[in-house]
Symmetry: C2
Subunit: 433 residues, 2 copies
């Protein structure tokens, strides 16, 4: 199969790897301006602007927000309508995702220092969160679970979901997933107008404190522009997988694991790293055999040709060097002793251990989140989690003795910074002997 063959021993390896994995999103001035206009219009005209843009962009003819509002009963009705097997799969996935995320929940803590002063951190959930879910063909119920469940586990007061209904069509499985994930309110809105409504609030759509979830360039740009007024999650790049294999896994399994990433879109990236040159060839042959059996063969071929790679390394230690350089979103360690090797991984969104853990299990139901840092941002960021829907307030309560002691230190430092009011505010609390 047409793809990029690299050898970590080559002198130009670092350079080629950097070029292959580089991703810089093109920002379009015209998109920026159009989004700016939509945000301003929705902030000013509220519901009516939302209705106008929805009719225009989603080809609808609604006259009131009531037609764009899906209530909890309708979500539950969708859950009843979908095939039983799908419903059971959704519920099983939700149970596992919920159980994993429960472990991420952070509690408030406090302690007293030697002066009896209280120090601590009060952890609270966000009041209200907005979740964007793409509509139409790329409507993924699993995204509903992965975005809404951490918010629900965190104890967020109200979860508001938006998802567009192009030509009026809503995906029943998306509605059912929303029901399973604890979504309270649902509006069939999309695009920059949906983000605007969530950020500014309208007569009908409540203003939220944070907006998460994937979307097209208009949605991404709108999130970028409202950031600061509300919180947002990361703006994701194309999805990636890096598989390290010792050569002892069935080549067809590995080929299909690479394809499961490549089938997402033409920009997706699938990389296999192995010290076994023969194995790389066997996986290549397996890809040739398997590709014609898949619906998304064209996308897979384009993605493998442009951004895929088979990389030969000297040994597994060098494979780990490649891993830490790439800092992949998904890392599959298809090898013996995967747990031990995982401890050498410094940067990765999610690590899949051993031959029986394909990335697809993590995408749907293993438990951990499938919203992960892409484009090497795993160097400084984390999977979406309960912690993204909790926030912290520092707690400081000085005893009179503590205040007196700290007052002296603060006074010295404040005067060193010429901030006299700071110094005098502290000095009032110093005990007079």
């Amino acid at each position: 199969m047409k793809t990029n063959w690299l050898d970590a021993g080559d002198s130009d390896f670092a350079e080629r790897l950097t070029a292959l994995t580089a991703w810089s999103e093109e920002r379009d001035e015209e998109v920026t301006e159009r989004v700016r206009g939509i945000l301003k219009d929705v902030a000013q005209r509220g519901d009516q602007a939302v209705i106008d843009y929805t009719n225009r962009f989603d080809r609808r003819q609604v006259t009131s927000m009531a037609e764009l509002t899906v209530n909890r009963e309708q979500l539950l009705a969708a859950l009843e309508r979908i095939p039983v097997a799908l419903r059971e799969a959704l519920e099983a996935a939700a149970r596992r995702v919920r159980a994993y995320h429960e472990k991420q929940k952070q509690d408030s803590w406090q302690y007293r220092d030697e002066h009896g002063s209280l120090l601590g951190q009060q952890v609270t959930p966000l009041d209200r969160v907005g979740i964007y879910v793409p509509g139409g063909k790329a409507a993924y119920p699993s995204s509903v679970l992965m975005n809404a469940l951490p918010a629900h586990v965190a104890g967020v007061g109200e979860i508001v979901m938006v998802s567009p209904a192009p030509d009026g069509e809503l995906n029943d499985v998306v509605l059912a997933a929303a029901a399973v994930a604890g979504v309270e309110r649902f509006f069939s809105l999309g695009g920059a107008q949906a983000v605007a409504a969530l950020a500014h609030g309208t007569e009908t759509v409540p203003a939220v404190d944070k907006i998460v979830g994937p979307g097209n360039i208009y949605v991404a740009e709108a999130k970028r522009q409202v950031f600061g007024k509300v919180g947002i999650d990361m703006i994701a790049g194309p999805s990636e997988i890096l598989v390290v294999c010792d050569g002892k896994t069935d080549p067809e399994w590995i080929a299909m694991d690479l394809f499961s990433q490549a089938e997402h879109d033409e920009e997706a990236q699938s990389i296999l790293v192995s010290p076994d040159a023969e194995f790389l060839k066997r996986v290549d042959a397996a890809m040739d055999r398997l590709a014609p059996t898949l619906e998304r063969e064209d996308i897979i071929r384009t993605s493998m040709a442009n951004r895929g790679a088979l990389i030969q390394v000297r040994d597994l230690d060098q494979a780990l060097e490649v891993v830490n350089r790439v800092s992949p979103e998904h890392l599959e360690l298809s090898m013996d002793d995967a747990e031990a090797w995982a401890r050498k991984v410094r940067h990765a969104g999610a690590i899949f251990l051993g031959r029986h853990t394909p990335e697809a299990l993590g995408d749907y139901c293993a438990g951990p989140n499938h919203v992960l840092p892409t484009s090497a941002t795993a160097r400084f960021s984390s999977p979406l989690g309960v912690y993204d829907f909790q926030k912290r307030s520092s707690l400081i309560g000085c005893s009179p003795e503590g205040a007196s002691e700290l007052g002296r230190i603060a006074s010295a430092l404040a005067r060193g910074e010429s901030l006299t009011a700071h110094a005098r505010s502290a000095e009032y609390r110093i005990k007079k002997d």
Copy 2:
């Protein structure tokens, strides 16, 4: 003193409070363009570009990066040079800040599910972090401690600090604070060129994974533009305090607490909320008495007149409603039972409990961080902390039994989303009966 008097019982109260606390940062197209140019130039020309901009903007005449490099020995020498009392205050503050932040450190965890599959989260520190510290008059050694110590506690591999030296002048206390806080490398660089050097790396300045710390509009804009390539902290707005007092604290203490915020700059915001109308008047009179005794009287008067407020409420419950609406950066609960009241606070950066806990103690040495969410962003964000310098990787390791079970669920969901390669990758791991 000229300031804004509000009464929570007035019909236009909500509107006036919103107007008073609104803050929207003006972004200047010219700044955006100039910063874009500087970033591009430094990315292309490296050290030489950094030297050129530094000579121009900081009025210097250096010819090599060596002249802009301060090594660990020079930092330690500065620590020896500063007055002993100041050194002791810095070290005492650092001890306390370190002790508090140690409690924020998060550990990796894992568990096994009913099939023996491993699930967990691997927590690792960032490899390298850049800390920006403003130079010149607004050089605050306390900022050095508050930004560098959490990174140090997190176990960050290398902490690189940048701080400009206008006309070649470096602040000894800033260098001393860097020594105390575990900074390994220090460059006397500032502005967008410093952010560019940290984000892209040059021959001399190593590329970092995250950039934190306050700066002017060029620094803020540069951070905004490099976000995505590296992590950044929040872009801070003007500093704010909201004091709730039951009327039983010395009015001069409260007046000075308000001033300690107002003296920062003309845009700073100081608000006092009390159910005791007489007390508000006594604080007003105390402000009149105290203002003329302060060096920064002019700044204080401007800030109190434009953005300050004395707010009368019906009772303390209504005071807490005002708190949660404002979501202040600093909240002082100068009242009885402050700990119990604090549990009703939903949004605040830091909560100062009781009459003996002025905000100034938290600014310098109580322990918690003084980098806090401003402009109501406490609704969705947290103080700077160790967690900002750690990141998480999900861990998933399926047993053959677990993979078989999960494979069935994933297959159903993937086929529901028409992602066949995902489904087949999962199905390979289902056991054949």
